[in-house]
């Protein structure tokens, strides 16, 4: 089935004076999906969201909503709504008036406004709160009002800017599930901004990872986790062990890499001998043996092991003093003394081009100029 594109971002750049906040961003968002813009603070994710909402204008590039260029449209003319991080509820209006605001602006009949607001209150489980003022609500309740106030307008796309950022952990988990439920039920496209990778992994249909204004990877959560496209994605999402080294031998798609502490093997295509690479291995994929393994020559000593419920988290130390993390199921503790040999299955490691290649790329660009 062909998916409909609802938002298309094409080669968008955003500069504040000299500050290049969003760099040549291209991204398609499909109707009905839950897409998360994930990145640390200052990566340009909120700016991207604000450009879709219309609060900021791209320095260049195009943004299309339902195939229509929105460059000349004011926020009030766009069929998208925003849930603000700070909620931005109108403090002088009741919950009812807050939620009714969008419909009032559209001059919807009073009776209809009343019915739709009441329906919305039920939907976000705030029935009976309509006469309260925002100052009389808890953080979670304010959040629900903010969501209801946006959703009542039936937006094509709902933009959420770190909506759960101010809530405590337990409430956040609960709201995550609820947001997901709402999104599926109403079948509205969500573009969700967060810096919390766990939140992104558990809620999203697709995740767009941003770093330094650049879109690093767009993929489904599993792919983001299992095959990160860059070193940044590998380290930002979940825990990982990174080895940096140089390709020494290629046989088919099996690549041998010399890293500082020894020789390792991983699968990869399109690499060449002598190339600088990084290898990312998740702690739960990292394996060990008490006898040497073919293709691997990394020796390590177990430094500590911690039981965390059903798993053991172990830290081993390499010859050069670097630490490597391992995760094993409880009951499979590592030997505390003697040398262990680290290895991994061919599919358990991800071979990545290092930013050094980007550096060479940059040198090439300069020469071309």
């Amino acid at each position: 089935m062909e998916k409909t594109k609802i938002v298309e971002i094409r080669n968008v750049n955003k500069l504040y004076d000299e500050n290049h906040v969003v760099k040549d961003l291209s991204l398609d968002v499909y109707a009905g999906e839950f897409l998360t813009l994930l990145g640390s603070s200052g990566c340009g994710k909120t700016t991207t969201l604000r450009m879709i909402a219309g609060f900021e204008q791209p320095t260049d590039g195009l943004i299309l909503v339902e195939g229509e260029n929105v460059a000349d449209k004011e926020p009030y003319e766009r069929n998208v709504n925003t849930v603000f991080q700070s909620y931005a509820l109108f403090p002088h209006m009741t919950v009812f008036d807050n939620i009714a605001y969008g419909l009032k602006m559209k001059r919807v009949k009073k009776k209809e406004i009343h019915d739709r607001v009441m329906e919305m209150l039920e939907l976000v489980q705030l029935g009976g709160f309509e006469k309260r003022y925002p100052s009389q609500l808890s953080g979670g309740q304010k959040q629900r009002v903010a969501i209801a106030r946006a959703l009542i307008n039936n937006p094509k796309v709902l933009l959420l800017d770190e909506p759960l950022g101010a809530l405590d952990l337990k409430l956040r988990k609960q709201m995550q599930l609820e947001l997901k439920r709402l999104q599926k039920k109403l079948n509205i496209t969500f573009i969700y901004v967060t810096h919390d990778q766990e939140e992104a992994l558990s809620m999203s249909d697709r995740i767009a990872v941003m770093h330094g204004g650049v879109l690093e990877q767009v993929a489904v959560p599993l792919e983001i986790y299992e095959s990160p496209a860059s070193k940044f994605v590998a380290t930002f999402i979940g825990e990982t062990n990174l080895f940096e080294g140089r390709v020494v031998k290629i046989e088919g798609n099996s690549v041998s890499v010399m890293v500082e502490s020894g020789m390792v093997t991983a699968l990869g295509e399109g690499f060449s001998e002598g190339e600088l690479v990084s290898i990312s291995v998740r702690p739960e994929r990292m394996n060990y043996s008490v006898t040497p393994v073919e293709g691997f020559t990394i020796e390590a000593k177990v430094r500590e092991q911690v039981y965390v419920g059903s798993v053991i988290k172990a830290i081993v130390e390499l010859g050069n003093g670097n630490e490597v993390k391992l995760e094993r199921l409880a009951g499979q503790a590592l030997p505390m003394d003697g040398t262990v040999y680290l290895y991994w299955g061919e599919n358990d490691a991800k071979l990545l081009r290092t930013p050094d290649n980007e550096f060479f790329q940059a040198v090439e660009n300069i020469q071309m100029c």
Partner: protein, 286 residues
């Protein structure tokens, strides 16, 4: 017990200078005026103590009533003009970033540092029949004969607005500064155009500033007799002029005291109203 006693002593020592100050400079003079308003005078206009309501009866004299109305009208116009001019200006200051903000702020504050009496005299010289404005207009051949700008209600209102403008700007500025920009974005996001956002969000959320600014302008405008004197020349008296006259040329202190009590009464009434409507006492500097 010992600590409690210690605390009581330290509170007493901390409070007493303030208490003494308040007693000497506010409570006792007020009491003095209040008592005097019930006194009479002898044939030489000396205050004599005899309890009487005579002064208050005289306050209802039609010629006085007319001046109360005129004073309230002047105060009302002054407040209205201060809001109309002050709101856009306060908005400008509050929304200006960078160093220009300090400059705009200083433009309001600096004239405030010069005695307002002197500034009002300056305006009289500037506006008078042979003053600079008339000379300038004649030189430019814009007018043939001198225009008398002085001695009418309009000029008095102008002077009042000029003197009291900062009192309006400061609370307005505070209220507008507090306005969360996210709320304006949210309003726009929900489909409101500029005008709708102004009337539904900005105005209600800055109403407290307008309200406290109005209190701070309206009350002094009832009493700024020197503006009415210098620019209005007796044609636009306010309650303050009546009081001043009783204490000076009229030499009827008990009547002046009674008039003062009326002014204090109006002030208290307005402040009480302000409080009732949810006004913040701190923004009045109380």
């Amino acid at each position: 017990m010992k600590t409690k006693k210690g605390a009581a002593i330290s509170i007493a020592t901390m409070v007493s200078p303030v208490t003494l100050w308040m007693a000497f400079f506010i409570a006792i003079p007020l009491l003095y005026v209040a008592v005097m308003s019930f006194c009479g005078t002898d044939e030489n206009y000396n205050v004599v103590f005899r309890l009487t309501l005579e002064n208050y009866r005289r306050l209802l004299d039609p010629s006085y009533l007319q001046i109360y109305m005129q004073s309230i009208l002047i105060a009302f116009l002054t407040t209205a003009f201060c809001i109309l001019l002050g709101y856009p200006f306060a908005f400008l200051i509050a929304r200006t970033k960078s160093r220009k903000k300090a400059l705009l702020y200083m433009l309001v504050i600096i004239p405030f540092w010069t005695n307002s009496l002197i500034r009002i005299y300056g305006w009289r010289t500037f506006l008078s029949a042979s003053g600079m404005l008339n000379t300038l207009l004649m030189k430019l051949n814009l007018i043939d004969t001198q225009i008398d700008f002085l001695y009418n209600i309009g000029t008095t209102v102008f002077g009042m607005v000029y003197c009291l403008f900062p009192f309006m700007i400061l609370p307005l500025y505070t209220a507008i500064e507090k306005l969360d920009i996210n709320l304006l974005e949210a309003s726009s996001d929900l489909g409101a155009r500029g005008a709708s956002t102004f009337f539904h969000i900005i105005l209600p959320l800055t109403a407290s500033g307008i309200f406290s600014g109005s209190i701070m302008v309206f009350i002094p405008a009832l009493g700024y007799f020197f503006v009415a004197d210098i620019l209005g020349g007796g044609n636009s008296d306010v309650i303050g002029n009546l009081i001043e006259r009783q204490f000076q040329s009229g030499n009827n202190w008990p009547l002046g005291a009674a008039l003062s009590m009326i002014l204090i009464g109006i002030t208290l009434l307005l402040v009480k109203l302000y409080q009732k409507c949810g006004g913040d006492m701190e923004s009045l500097g109380v």
